[in-house]
């Protein structure tokens, strides 16, 4: 469980104001909002890149302030994938396990399993710079998944993909989510993606959380005019058609 209690942070000209949010254990939670409203910043707060200026973040009841990123058991898939450019795909995926005392045959096996599952087994020797966006995205997913995180943060994971690949990966992701049973916080500005994946949706506009609710509920009953006009950009029918 993740709880934001009145969290505020100021970064340059941008500020996130008084965020209150509760994400349940095992939930697939989608943060929806236009560009530049602080979606990535929220994920980075959860993962521990920043400390809130005010308010507190709780992860499973514990004040996150005292937990460094490396002990939060959080997997992070960045918007731009953030693969390590000097390591090949295998070493990117194996990076986390190799830090510990896990014997390398076991790591090898786990990398292979994940790579098979994500369809990137043929890319293990390649370097990130030579991969397509979709391939990088899968490597980034594998790198996060291999740690068996309790919380998975996905920052616009399908941003760079064509609609068909996106739909396919969405389905795969949902399958993996059900298999691994972690909490997923997923950021997007794509309504159909949100409709397809989310248990609950949080709408964030201009650094504030405006509405949180079940995915149908949010689309059917926007809380106020601002939410409505943001969601109104796309009619309801198309969201649940797929």
């Amino acid at each position: 469980m993740i709880r934001f209690a009145d969290v505020s942070i100021k970064l340059g000209d941008f500020s996130l104001k008084n965020v209150n949010l509760e994400i349940k254990e095992g939930e697939f939670f989608t943060i929806l909002g236009p560009t530049g409203t602080g979606k990535t910043v929220i994920l980075e707060l959860i993962a521990g890149l920043y400390r809130p200026d005010a308010g507190k973040i709780f992860i499973n009841g514990a004040d996150a302030e005292n937990i460094p990123p490396e002990r939060r058991k959080i997997g992070f898939v960045y918007q731009d994938y953030a693969l390590f450019p000097h390591l090949n795909v295998y070493k990117n995926i194996a990076f986390g396990p190799q830090l510990g005392k896990i014997p390398s045959p076991i790591i090898k096996e786990r990398v292979k399993d994940l790579a098979d599952m994500l369809g990137i087994a043929h890319l293990l020797e390649r370097f990130p710079g030579t991969l397509s966006g979709g391939e990088q995205q899968r490597v980034s997913l594998a790198r996060a998944f291999i740690m068996k995180p309790r919380i998975l943060l996905l920052d616009e994971p399908f941003g760079a993909l064509d609609p068909n690949t996106k739909r396919m990966l969405c389905r795969e992701l949902k399958k993996m989510y059900l298999q691994y049973q972690c909490t997923v916080i997923h950021v997007t500005h794509d309504f159909s993606e949100a409709g397809m994946l989310a248990d609950r949706i949080g709408i964030i506009l201009e650094g504030r959380v405006r509405q949180v609710g079940g995915s149908r509920e949010v689309f059917e009953n926007p809380l106020d005019q601002k939410v409505a006009s943001f969601l109104g950009a796309e009619p309801l029918k198309t969201v649940f058609a797929g």
């Binding site: 490396e70 939060r72 390590f84 450019p85 000097h86 830090l99």
Partner: protein, 269 residues
């Protein structure tokens, strides 16, 4: 039709200035090389030049090693850590870069030669005044701001999110630095080492002030050039100069090869 550059008076003028600048620089360096290079074999056989080469290599390698070891942490702080008064530190650290080397050398001479601190150092076996250790100290003092600058811009060019991702995968801050930031700074480190080394080889003013110019004692290549000049031995001076030119050209080449393309993204936090 598009006009050629020589048909436009303005461009013609600019190109002419560029051309003569280039011509003069090439001519100046070229003349020295043409006159000096034929004698370089003979010069290399002279024990004095051999001593100077050895001393230059010895001092410059040691000072470069110190520079890199000191510059990396300092650059990391300037690039990544939020400390108060950072811009003041930036300016202070750049100061030796702006000072004439003889002034830097005098600063060092005063602190090591006239203070209790200097006397204490001498007592524990670290005399810097008129010694080889002084040459190394002078090279470090003059070059370290340069190395810090190169390392700072290198570290800044590494996407800090990569370090952060490494943290989420289980790295401590130190591990993230060793496994991500440092390897991604490789090209900058190489470029920095090569240029610092070349500058150390050529260091004259500060070393002269602190370590003096004594034949077969504190005689590096540039000091040798100076000593030979002052005794009217033009050939010996030109031999030392040509060695320095060759080293400079090689280092320039290596710097251009590695300095230009630092890997790693630039999206800054």
């Amino acid at each position: 039709m598009k006009k050629n550059w020589w048909q436009d008076k303005f461009n013609l003028f600019m190109v002419a200035v560029a051309f003569f600048t280039f011509l003069f620089m090439t001519a100046a360096v070229g003349t020295l090389m043409i006159k000096g290079l034929p004698q370089i074999g003979k010069a290399l056989a002279a024990p004095e030049i051999q001593f100077a080469i050895r001393l230059s290599l010895y001092t410059s390698l040691i000072s470069t090693a110190f520079c890199i070891v000191i510059a990396i942490p300092v650059a990391y702080v300037l690039a990544r850590v939020d400390i108060p008064m950072k811009s003041l530190f930036n300016t202070l650290l750049d100061l030796p870069l702006a000072l004439p080397p003889v002034v830097s050398g005098l600063c060092l001479l005063i602190i090591f030669g006239t203070t209790a601190f200097g006397a204490w150092l001498e007592g524990i076996g670290l005399p810097f005044v008129f010694t080889v250790k002084g040459i190394i100290m002078a090279q470090i003092f003059v070059n370290i701001p340069f190395m810090i600058r190169v390392m700072k811009s290198t570290i800044l060019s590494v996407n800090p999110r990569l370090e952060f991702i490494a943290r989420t995968l289980g790295c401590t801050p130190a591990q993230a630095f060793w496994k991500i930031t440092l390897p991604l700074s490789k090209n900058g480190i190489i470029a920095g080492i090569v240029t610092t080394w070349a500058r150390a080889l050529g260091e004259f003013g500060a070393a002269l002030m602190l370590a003096g110019a004594t034949r077969f004692r504190t005689e590096t290549l540039p000091i040798s050039l100076f000593l030979n000049m002052s005794t009217g031995d033009l050939e010996g001076a030109m031999a030392a100069a040509n060695l320095l030119i060759i080293i400079s050209i090689i280092s320039l080449y290596i710097f251009n090869k590695f300095g230009g393309d630092f890997i790693g993204g630039t999206r800054g936090v």
